[in-house]
Structure formats: C-alpha cells, structure tokens
Amino acid sequence: MRKHFGPLEVLRGVSLQVGRGEVVVIIGPSGSGKTTFLRCLNHLERIDGGRILINGHLIGYRQRADDRLVEASRRETAQRRSEIGFVFQSFNLFPHMTALMNVACGPLRVKKVSRSIGLQEAADLLVRVGLADKLEARPAHLSGGQQQRVAIARALAMKPTLMLFDEATSALDPEMVGEVLAVMRELAEGGMTMVVVTHEMGFAAEVADRVVMMDQGQIVEQGAPRQVFDAPAQPRTRDFLSKVL
C-alpha cells in the first residue's frame, strides 16, 4: 500500500497479511503513518498504490477487466466498510443519540434489522462492555472510558469480521485506560481479528499474536511480542522501545 499527502510520502510500500482470528499490534513513533494505515484499511483515505483485500474483497475500489483499479460505488464501499469495525481515538459517538441508539443505529439503518432485534442486541452488547446501567445515557453524560466502551459496542453491533483500533486509550485519563483495555482483551480472547495501534506496550506484549513496528511509512520489523520487545533486531526498534518503555 502506498499513500502520500501532497509531497509527503506517508506510506511507502506497507505490506501486511493478517490471518483470521489474529491480533496484530502496530507500534511506532508519532507520524510514522499508523493512523493513516488504519484509515486506508476501511477507505477513509484513498490509496495511491497497492490494493487492500478483506475476506477476498477489494476495499474502496473495483478491478476492471484490464486489471486497473477504479473507485467503487458509494454503496459498494459502504457495504465493505460495514464488515470492518473502527474505533477512533476520540470516540466520535453521536451526541444526539443515547448510548443504546449509538449502538443500535448501525444495524437498524445499514442492515435494516427489525427494531426489536436491533435494540435487544444493542442492549446485550452494552451489558457485555459493562454499561448495563447506561443504556439511556447521552454521550455527554458518560466518562471517557464509558464513551469508548460504547464506541466499541457500536462497532461490534455490525458483527464485523475485522476490528481496527486507533489508539483507543490515548484520549483517556489514566484510571480509565484499564477498563477499555479489558474489553479489548476479552474481544481478542474471543477470537476476533484485530489490528490495534497503541502505545500500551504492556497490552501489546500480553495480547498480541504479532507486533509490527512502523517507522517513516514502512514496516521496520515484525514478529512475536517476545521477539520484538526482548530482542529487537533493528536499531530503530531498539531506539523506539528504549524511549517508550
């Protein structure tokens, strides 16, 4: 995958394969292109080269007979995105809806499930992330940690096959980080396929199947957490880890 913003090359040929049920954690210094990479994965950003396949389907593009890629229709792109959950650093809950409607609106509006089933499933998900008593609360009345858990439930409501997390805990006060990581950990243990960008090295070491180190728009090194954290092969990885650990 290649991506540039004007003259700035943000992704300089990033290639990654993620297996079903695998948890991949991406680490790397600020500005290395981690967020951009995730955003490209569900076509919130267009790419300038390469291709993205999820469950065998191209994201955001379609292949013409002569092998060239052209932008897919809005409907097709929306359909592809609905299979991918995205959790934002800044939650991005819908402030005009209750927690319950935040979670239910995807299934209700996109999948057109019946109202009773949509609301029931949304309530179940909120119970699962520990918010049984906040179904009718508006986002403005929830703490950061609670908002992020609603956001995770909202993404899960679409029954995605892949979950993307972009620094899901970076905007939280320290005492709320744990509750969100706990939800993510449970999800990983449940077999969800996840690509997680985080600065929480403890979480990465514990939960990741594979850790990917990015720097300056490239993958510098990847491997099992043990290997990357305890015996990094690349000086850039060593350098980065010595700063954050």
Binding site: L44, F86, F94, H96, P139
Partner: protein, 276 residues
C-alpha cells in the same frame, strides 16, 4: 430632542392622538384588517418553509463534486444577497410580466383562491431567503466535526445516510438560532409586499389611513401587530432551542426575556458548539 421643543403645544400634550380610534383599531379591527394580518402570517410561514427546503437543496448542491453546480449556487447567492428585496419583488412580479417571460395568474388550490401577487410575493420571499438559508445550513453542516461523518461511514452508512442521520440532526442546533432570526426578519419584510399590491397587514393599514387620516394611530396599531407576531415567534424559538440543547445535555441557551430585550445576552454566549 430639539424637534420636540419646536412642536406646537397641542401635539406635545397629545390632543391629536385619538385614543378611541386607536383602541378600537387595536382590539376590534375590521375584518379586512384581520384578513391582512392572517395573510401576513401565512405568507411568512409558507415562504419560510419553501426557503428552508430550497436553501437545503442549494447547500447540498454546493457540496457537489461537479464544479458548474457549485458555481451556479455561488452565483445565485451572490446575486440574491447583493440586491434589495424590494427590487427583486418588482422584477419578479412586474419585470417578468413586462418582458413577457412569466406572469403570475390567480389560481385556485384546494378551493382556495390564491392571487397572482400573493404567489409572486411568496416566490420572491422564498427565493430571497433561500440564499441566506443556504449559507446558514452550510455553516451548520460544517460545524459538525468530521469525525462524526467518519464514524457513520465506518459503520457502513452511505454518504446520504450520514448526512440525514448524523450530520443534519446535529447541524440543526447551529442552524436554528440564525434561522429563527431570519424568520423574524421575514415576517417584517412581508410589509414590502404592499408595494406590489398584496393585501397584507401593512397595505390594510395604509388603506385605513387614506380613509381616516388617523396616520399615527393606525400605523401604531400595525406596528403592535407586527410586534405581537415577532414576540410570539421569539417565544416559540426559545422553546425549540432549549429542547434541542437539553437533548444533547449542554448549556441552556439565553432565556426568552434575555433575548427579547437583550439583557444579559452577549452574541455567541449561549451557543456552545460542542459538548465534548
């Protein structure tokens, strides 16, 4: 206040103010005056509803991927906002007809007779206000954080669904205050329709004046009727606004009294953009 000092004594003590006429006109207006008042109200409402719809259409057109459409909207807004409503009114009603382009004829809709002038008045007011509404709606849309759209898109909503379900409902909070102010102005602007002969509130006041020569009295009565309308609307508007604000759990907008007489009201002080 030198002009006051120069007035003949009789004026200063109010001998020529006909209280009986004034009260009579105020509390027991004749039926054609009341009909004019009703005309003012319904023209305002219909024109505003049309202006909101057309304004929304223009605002969305302005976001089109096709530049000629965007350019057209820009041109429309530039021309409409840059020329006086009164001039637009005579162009639409008299000018178009004189040119042989289009003339408004009386029609009957659902058993109601709608005069050509009334149609022309509504169309012009709506077309004029739509230019302002387009800008207000555009500002409302761009006040909604981009992350909101991205969250909707990542759930698999189409851009249209995102606009309808996510962006516009939030933009409304920002749109309502200036929209309300514009509607207030619109109700007063309907008095310009008297110039093309729409029998609304002001034209009826003028007619009574020409028959009775109670100039000050009858125009005062007309002013009070406009004031009652705008006051009532201010009340409605603040109710709508506080509903919208409490809905997302943020600071209350200025109260009815504050906004009516301006006490304790600083521009923008009640308009918190975002709860987060």
């Amino acid at each position: 206040m030198t002009w006051l000092a120069n007035l003949p004594v009789s004026y200063a003590v109010g001998l020529h103010f006909d209280w009986i006429f004034f009260w009579h006109a105020l509390v027991r207006p004749n039926s054609s005056f009341l009909l004019g008042f009703a005309t003012t109200i319904y023209i305002s409402i219909i024109a505003m509803v049309l202006a909101i719809l057309l304004g929304l259409f223009l605002a969305l057109l302005r976001r089109s991927r096709l530049w000629p459409l965007r350019a057209f909207v820009g041109l429309y807004i530039w021309v409409v906002r840059g020329t006086p409503l009164l001039v637009q009114l005579v162009i639409v009603y008299d000018g178009f007809a004189a040119l042989g382009l289009f003339s408004f004829n009386d029609v009957t809709v659902l058993g109601l007779d709608i005069q050509g002038v009334v149609q022309a008045g509504i169309v012009t007011l709506a077309a004029n206000e739509a230019a302002y509404m387009a800008e207000i709606i555009r500002a409302g849309i761009s006040s909604v954080a981009i992350g909101q759209s991205e969250a909707g898109l990542s759930l698999g909503m189409t851009p249209g669904q995102v606009m309808r379900r996510i962006v516009l409902p939030q933009a409304v909070r920002v749109i309502i205050p200036p929209l309300g102010n514009d509607f207030n102005a619109m109700m007063k602007s309907t008095s310009l329709l008297a110039t093309i002969g729409v029998s609304e509130l002001f034209l009826n006041a003028q007619e009574i004046n020409s028959l009775t020569f109670r100039t000050f009295e009858i125009y005062s009565v007309a002013a009070l009727y406009y004031l009652a309308l705008t006051t009532l609307w201010t009340l409605v508007q603040s109710t709508i606004e506080s509903r919208l604000q409490t809905q997302v759990g943020i600071q209350r907008p200025p109260t009815f009294r504050q906004r009516l007489i301006g006490v304790g009201w600083r521009p923008g002080s009640g308009r918190l953009r975002d709860s987060a």
